[in-house]
């Protein structure tokens, strides 16, 4: 792959990040409600003045606040949370990022494997019973908000059947004898939210994979391959699948950007202590530094994911080098 292509993509990504950092500053300052009053309506005047000073809000917007902000960002300092007084934003977010990563990482993985598998099989056996049922399901799942799936699973498997816990990440107050037991407890709590995420994502992947397989199957070289007498499985593996991978990679990268939307509702339904519930908490408390931190973190990770997708794309499909 051309190093110019690579360099251009990287420069673009860096530029995007710079813009995001600036947008973050502007959005933050445009928010209505001065933070010292939003925190609590009846804070004494002295306490408010002290908070404004601590948050640097008593300085002029430009250049003082902007300079301070950029300096802080450069140092990796996202400021301190309003709600969780004086706790650095990085610490607040750092605490909550892992549950989300595990939940959505595993969920994506399951969805990719099952969804792509289902889609590939449906496309391959187009018109067969698996296709009817599988694609019907995919379409419905695709049309369902995550939290609806979550509510159904919660009511059936946690409230009614009692097989799984309703919320949280660990059994509280339980003393674990071994790490294995602790992991098992974690997995037990993880199961329902994980299934919600996986089920919510399967539809997309399956639909996408099915249509790319169908598209590929009508390409000349596949027809040729079939005519040459290659077995179905071989045609699928060596011709159809590799070509259908490209759109899938794009979708996976795009999905990262939407993770938070799904995360918020799934985590709310299951009380999963991740970025999603943190976002809602920060929103309700008008904890703008935390919101901005989440915004920054997510957009930068999407930029990086897109960059990675571009690079993978270029690697998988040599034609894309422009």
């Amino acid at each position: 792959m051309g190093s110019r292509y690579l360099a251009r993509k990287i420069v673009q990504a860096i530029l995007t990040i710079v813009f995001i950092v600036l947008l973050n500053f502007v959005l933050f300052r445009m928010m209505p409600g001065s933070p010292d009053r939003v925190l609590a309506r009846n804070l004494p005047d002295a306490a408010r003045a002290e908070l404004r000073e601590r948050w640097g809000l008593d300085q002029p917007l430009i250049p003082d606040q902007l300079v301070a902000y950029i300096g802080a960002i450069a140092r990796g300092d996202l400021g301190s949370s309003y709600k969780f007084s004086n706790t650095p934003v990085t610490e607040v977010i750092g605490d909550r990022i892992w549950p989300t990563l595990i939940l959505f990482g595993l969920g994506e993985l399951i969805a990719i494997v099952v969804g792509l598998g289902l889609g590939a099989y449906s496309g391959w056996r187009r018109g067969g019973p698996v296709d009817y049922v599988g694609n019907g399901f995919s379409l419905i799942l695709y049309s369902m908000p995550y939290f609806v799936i979550g509510m159904i699973l919660l009511i059936v498997f946690a409230t009614t059947l009692g097989w799984f816990p309703t919320s949280g990440m660990f059994s509280l107050g339980h003393r674990f004898d071994s790490p294995v037991e602790q992991i098992a407890d974690f997995a037990w709590h993880l199961f329902l939210p994980l299934m919600t995420v996986a089920i919510g994502l399967i539809g997309q992947y399956s639909i996408l994979m099915r249509s790319s397989i169908i598209d590929t199957l009508t390409e000349d070289y596949v027809t040729t391959a079939k005519a040459k007498g290659l077995t179905d499985g071989r045609v699928l593996r060596s011709h159809a699948l590799p070509n259908a991978r490209l759109p899938a990679v794009t979708l996976i990268a795009i999905n990262l950007g939407y993770v938070i939307a799904g995360a918020i509702t799934v985590e709310v339904v299951f009380g999963w202590p991740g970025i999603g519930t943190l976002t809602v908490t920060a929103l309700n408390a008008r904890d703008y530094p935390v919101l901005q931190g989440i915004f920054l973190l997510l957009s930068i990770s999407v930029v990086i994911a897109n960059l990675a997708a571009d690079l993978i794309y270029g690697y998988l499909d040599p034609r894309v080098r422009t």
């Binding site: 993985l109 919660l154 949280g168 997995a187 994980l194 309700n284």
Partner: protein, 648 residues
């Protein structure tokens, strides 16, 4: 690369299977024998700090009551009991209090706890106030300020002397945690304000915070050095459900929690039917109100839309068009008390009902409006004294489900008077800005007519009384109410030496408030608590007759719990006091109440059949959906060969 794609996919699938196998293997066999006896408390609030000066919600106070001692504790009769101090006495002139500190007491880290610690704690706040500062968010400062403390000194390790500027008994009811000087003592005020006070937190209370995860839980372990009664719980865990009260109730029902605070009214009704569950409804130290913009002057580009709102007679007349009992019944499912004055009935020492309360009578409201000079025009719209039709804007924050319901009722009733109301919801941040007058800054315009919101009080009524003083305009006032008599009475009551002396002035404040009506308080929302009776026993409440066990003043009730399995369990007391005139739940703070959002409905359906209904309903819907999907797809697939249906 291409040739291996398939096998890669297969390997991925295998990995996924392995992972899911591990997951399904799931639920660990609980080995309860090894477990400590844990008391798990669920609340919809989320702890915001381990620094007691930077917490402003009930949950913070609850945790700090456990972590630290108050100088003087609260008994379940709300009388003083030993806390950090064992005994106390007041000098004949009433201006000097001497506290005897328990000898041999230790902090949870083993350091001796003495009068030095208490003296440092109080003196630090006294100094900060003297310099015009506040400590942290300043919620604990009023205790010192209202008691007019001048100095706090340790005469010897077992004697604390507090000097007051004027005689009063308020040093006995402070909610200031006594902090360890060996940890806090070398800090400047700025450092104190920003101190994280990370776990494990050192205190003298019965339980210490040893672990805190924001948005999740705080875990408190028993203080081995605690001087008082040992509660049965080895650990207390507070679990936070900031996003979903439903999840909290589910966890409670599933036995994952022992105690929950403020489920919705509907859920509370359901919990009453659960075996082994005690439910308590007690009056709270807070209210929900309809507030008016009573600002007395024009505000360019803002202000109220009619001058009528400046007129107490107009506001008074509107009060006759609010059926408060209907609101309690329909919005709170009966779990509340009809609202009257700004001192909630929870404050049994000071609450006084108005002599001549308004009744719900639309006709009377109309007569009063006519009499006050607000007459109808030809089209049935009421006019203000400038001859302008009165159209009121009603704003409310989107933080509670109850507010839109209240807005719908108010709109309906006021429209019967010929006053159209247009309501709108805001996020709390935006509404806070809207409610501020120019006094708070040039950019503020108090551009509103009426609003729905609520307040929660501190143990002392001062904070709630102060909202309606002239000095609060531009600060905490959201009605812009100003009345010289009120201001004068407020200062006098605060300086009165004894509770009995204060009462007379506070009665006067309540009378002015009710007559001049800057607010119409809809109701005082009840505290709804529920707990399981099979793990712990000997649940006491504060006040004994009609209070709640937890989320009250002090930590006494935690220390009185016994192990239900070790002792014969007494029958659960199911108390209900929706209309009791005074109760005691609620802890200090005057932060905005956003907590209670009880939603109505006694309905529900008989317990277990609902699950089945639900399953059937869900399955039916799923089947319909699948059928539609399959049908749609089938036809498509059948038509098309490889090129699918659209091929000609």
């Amino acid at each position: 690369m291409r040739s291996t794609a398939g096998s890669r996919l297969a390997r991925l699938a295998a990995l996924a299977l392995a992972v899911s196998a591990l997951l399904v293997a799931g639920p660990p066999a609980p080995t309860r024998a090894a477990d400590p006896l844990v008391l798990r408390v669920g609340t919809s609030q989320d702890l915001e700090a381990l620094n007691p000066f930077n917490a402003y919600q009930y949950i913070g106070y609850e945790i700090f009551f456990l972590n630290y001692d108050l100088l003087v504790g609260f008994g379940n009769d709300l009388k003083p009991i030993p806390g950090f101090a064992e005994s106390w006495s007041q000098s004949p002139d009433g201006k000097t209090w001497t506290f005897k500190i328990r000898p041999g007491m230790k902090w949870s880290d083993g350091t001796p706890a003495t009068a030095e610690d208490a003296a440092w704690t109080f003196q630090m706040i006294i100094d900060a106030i003297k310099d015009g500062n506040s400590v942290g968010y300043g919620y604990l400062d009023p205790d010192v300020k209202n008691a007019a403390m001048v100095s706090a000194t340790a005469a010897d390790p077992e004697t604390l002397v507090i000097e007051l500027a004027r005689p009063n008994d308020r040093p006995l009811t402070t909610t200031i945690p006594i902090l360890p000087k060996h940890i806090w003592g070398d800090k400047t005020l700025d450092q104190i304000n920003e101190f994280a006070n990370d776990a494990p937190v050192v205190g003298t209370g019965p339980y210490q915070v040893v672990e805190w995860k924001t948005g999740q839980y705080a875990r408190l372990a028993r203080n081995p050095n605690y001087w008082g009664n040992r509660g049965a719980a080895d650990e207390v865990i507070f679990q936070f459900f900031p996003d979903s009260a439903d999840t909290m109730v589910q966890a409670f029902k599933a036995g994952e929690l022992d105690y929950i605070r403020n489920p919705s009214a509907l859920q509370f009704n359901e919990l009453k039917k659960e075996p082994g569950t005690a439910t308590i409804s007690a009056t709270s130290n807070g209210w929900t109100q309809l507030g008016f913009n009573t600002y007395q002057e024009e505000i360019p580009g803002g202000g109220a839309s009619t001058t009528a709102l400046r007129d107490p007679a107009f506001r008074d007349a509107l009060g006759y068009a609010i059926d408060k009992q209907a609101l309690v019944d329909k919005v709170l499912q009966g779990y509340g008390i009809v609202g009257t004055t700004q001192v909630p009935p929870w404050e049994r020492r000071f609450h006084t009902d108005p002599a001549d309360p308004r009744t719900f009578d639309i006709e009377l409201a109309k007569q009063k409006l006519d009499a006050a000079g607000y007459v109808l025009d030809g089209s049935g719209n009421r006019l203000d004294k400038d001859g302008k039709p009165i159209n009121l804007r009603l704003y409310f924050p989107n933080s509670s489900d109850d507010y839109p319901k209240l807005a719908a009722f108010v709109t309906d009733w006021f429209s019967q008077l010929g006053i159209p109301v247009k309501s709108q919801s805001f996020d709390s941040g935006a509404l806070t800005d809207i409610l501020l007058p120019p006094e708070a800054g040039d950019q503020y315009k108090a551009d509103y007519d009426m609003f729905i919101w609520g307040w929660g009080g501190s143990p002392d009524p001062n904070a709630l009384l102060e909202i309606f003083t002239t000095g609060a305009i531009g600060s905490t006032s959201d009605s812009q109410f100003s009345d010289p008599d009120y201001d004068a009475a407020f200062v006098t009551q605060n300086e009165a030496p004894t509770t009995a002396d204060r009462k007379g002035y506070i009665d006067e404040l309540q009378r002015i408030f009710y007559d001049k009506a800057p607010y119409h308080i809809f109701y005082y929302d009840n505290e709804l608590h529920a707990y399981h009776t099979d793990t712990f026993a000997n649940w006491q409440t504060q006040p004994t007759e009609d209070g709640t066990p937890f989320f009250v003043n002090g930590s006494l009730n935690y220390t009185l719990l016994t192990d239900a399995k070790a002792t014969p369990s007494p029958t659960p007391v199911v108390t209900e006091a929706p209309s009791a005139s005074a109760g005691g739940s609620a802890a200090p703070t005057a932060a905005p109440t956003q907590a209670p959002s009880p939603s109505p409905a006694p309905g529900g359906q008989p317990g277990d059949s609902t699950g089945t209904f639900l399953l059937i309903g869900g399955v039916a819907v799923l089947i319909v959906l699948v059928t539609v999907g399959i049908l749609a797809w089938r036809t498509r697939g059948r038509r098309g060969g490889p090129g699918s249906g659209e091929e000609e």
